[in-house]
Subunit: 337 residues, 2 copies
Amino acid sequence: MTGIIEIAKAANVSPSTVSRVIHNPELVSEEKRNQVLEVINRTGYTPSNLGAGLRKAKTNNLVAIIPDVTSAFNYPVIRAIESIALENGYSLLLGDTQELESRERSFASMARSRQADGILLFCSNLPFDIDPEIPLSEQLPPLVNACETSDLPGLPKVNIDNVAAAEEAVNYLLGLGHKRIAAITGHVKSPSTQDRLKGYRYALRGAGIPVDDGLIEAGNYGLKDAEQATRKLMARRDRPTAIFNFSDEMAMSCLATLHDMGLRIPDDVSVMGFDDISYAEYCYPALTTVAQPMTEIGIECMELLLPQLNGKPMQACNKILPHRLMIRKSTGPAPAG
Amino acid sequence: MTGIIEIAKAANVSPSTVSRVIHNPELVSEEKRNQVLEVINRTGYTPSNLGAGLRKAKTNNLVAIIPDVTSAFNYPVIRAIESIALENGYSLLLGDTQELESRERSFASMARSRQADGILLFCSNLPFDIDPEIPLSEQLPPLVNACETSDLPGLPKVNIDNVAAAEEAVNYLLGLGHKRIAAITGHVKSPSTQDRLKGYRYALRGAGIPVDDGLIEAGNYGLKDAEQATRKLMARRDRPTAIFNFSDEMAMSCLATLHDMGLRIPDDVSVMGFDDISYAEYCYPALTTVAQPMTEIGIECMELLLPQLNGKPMQACNKILPHRLMIRKSTGPAPAG
DNA sequence: CAGACCACTGAAAACGTTGCCAGAAAACGA
DNA sequence: TCGTTTTCTGGCAACGTTTTCAGTGGTCTG
């Protein structure tokens, strides 16, 4: 009792007609349509995506390639993507690379092995062998690159302006009178970290403050690393009066570590995050941070992916979405002295 | 240049041989094997999962049906599942139901439409029409039910002992001298909340303290709701001296709200969470909570699902994994008076 | 030397759909 | 009335694999 053929037999029509009833019911006479519908309802038949996919060369699956599914930043964007995907008849496969290139490639190859129709790439490394002679659009499956974007031109990308965002954040701290502003960065080679560092430096230079590399520590977007970075920074003779974390998760860890050291926030040290994850508001003190429009990022990704899935060629595009400084309680005027 | 047939032609063998080279290379003579391998490497051929799936009636996809992917509790279990799935050649589809039954059902139907081979169900409602006459194992696809488990017997389930865990948590608070212990619960109809409430009541009764329903507020596992619940509780004439939140996320919200009201934790109020998400340790003060073994839950789910995927019939099973009280800084002795 | 066995290979039939094509019947126009 | 169009329907081939079956030729064994 599996397939469309059984249904066809039971309804006394041909398989083609059953298929039509499902996909183009208006092409079928009411009489036969009802016959077929009756059998379908009675048996609870659902067409096999496998058969249809094979025939139509489509799986209706998308893969999201994500460096770390364990990070809270991802979920609002994943949720938005999943939701839109669903509306359009696609399912979302989750590819957690755990920062491993081999995994990136194996997920990417799903497009080739017809396990997915499109790719949402959240890492900067394009896991495909590309031939520079041939236009990208002919070598790649439908794809959008977001958040950590590749420097390869020609890709549809979605991001925020990390340089400007970081600059704005640091400027805000400068405006509060801070002079020694530390940074706890993400993975040093990640584009987001590079850009935020750039913004950090711009802001400092703009204020005439020399950049002290000793105030820059790698937190690798991890809770533990951020704790160590914080301790190291606070062990300095000339402690920073403000710490700019390149993610909220690190900021939370930073906050906890500072509390642990008996420091008052923001009286002794100001702490700034990045992302505005849902927990930021519930930190103590509530975390000042740069909000990324995560849901909009997800929406925009699908906006760029859907046309490709419908056969339109991939187009270069660099969509920059607006960030926003969220001023809360973890930052305050620089301590006197 | 798509399929196995082209490869076969190029290598001067039959498609069967190519297939064998890929899946059972030891059955093929070294000579032909090398011929085929050479062509495969040269062309970068990857077999289509669609074709294979159709033939083998297998998609190598699993769906995780999750009420709210946005909740940090899920991340480690998702990661564990995804990782084991991958090792076993499966991909993980994400099904975020956003608490909607229609979505639950639509994800569940993926098993029927051959879009997935198995289901990981994290909600208590079994989204299938089942006929009580027929044994469950004949009506359901490979499936494991975890965390929020159905009361239907016969399903393979993975959970912790929520009753005992909550009892233990409350007993710990009682041991600190608290008498007015409030509870901020999850969704009232969810089994986890029901069980934790049961444990809460047991503990109170065990200590000879009458249960005051006014001290029980629904937080629905949400940040906003928990904030309101906290305010409501603290507006009482006889304020609770301890608040037991049924999730860490709510506890974080509770903590933030109490801070906002100028209360000291744990001096004025003790706060307890549930789950031990990664952020719990980084709250201020570090959150005392009941740790759920999330990674182990994920592992155990796959342990129960894999045999089913390999054709073994579904078996009733109720795997209870150990929880653990994590005593940190957000709880302390009840204030005098 | 015959018979049995072995290692290897290819042909062919599925798996469940869909979409093109062509034909039948009905409706229409002249 | 007779073409002509329209509406509806079924047949058939294809999508890309895998697996069974039936060889072929060669190597053993007694």
